[in-house]
Amino acid sequence: MTTVLLIVHALVAVALIGGITHQAFAACWPARRKEGFFTSFRAVAGARYTNANVVLYLAAVVLGALIYPAYRLSVRTYLESARLWSYNGPFEVKEQFVTVGLGMLPLFWWVWREPLDPAKAGARAAVTAILCFIVWYSFVVGHVLNNIRGLFGQ
């Protein structure tokens, strides 16, 4: 069951990473014309991603919370016994970053509510960029830890 939840957690994270990155680029580095791949990536209507990103973030947190006990009992125990402190640390940081991001979700939803308020453009870009960073960081750390035995196991 934990494996199924872990895979769903990863799939939700993949969807979230796509949505939040589109939205962050649309807020921080908007483009009007859709000429090439990268310009098209930035030229999306960021507000359309808001509800989906909020739901995906919450889903990723809930799924992460469900599989956390299994991580605490087996993976972290392994990290500690293998003295892989520099891999245990990033997860501890991920846990705190994700929680801080959780508290920013209502503000994130508000600054992106349509019609978009130009006075909130700065906050919109900042909040979205921070959440995008949290999601990317968490994704990479989660991915490495998921493969930790393959990377460092005997």
């Binding site: 520099s86 940081v93 508290g103 906050a123």
Partner: protein, 106 residues
Amino acid sequence: MNIERTFPIFAAAFAVIYIFAVEQNWALFTYHPRIREWGWLMEPARSGPAMHWYGWLATSALGAAAVSLVALPFTRRWTPPLWLGWVIPLIVMVVFVYLLRGFFLR
């Protein structure tokens, strides 16, 4: 009254209360994963490790909701600055990296 005006305060309060919850171990409840038991407030490990993250999360959510409720009447005439909602969490994130530096410096 517009509850949305308190969202920057909620984000800031959530982050600040959370870092205190982690550092002072203000967990509303504790989970013992090996024996699958829950306990109120901060409990030492019964058998196997004790997990406090769920409790810290609940403490922060309730605390930030309370702070936002207290601030709600003031938002009739005062609009909380939006930067509160992202500068304070950003600072808290940096402080967490500092607090957890021991993992990376061993």
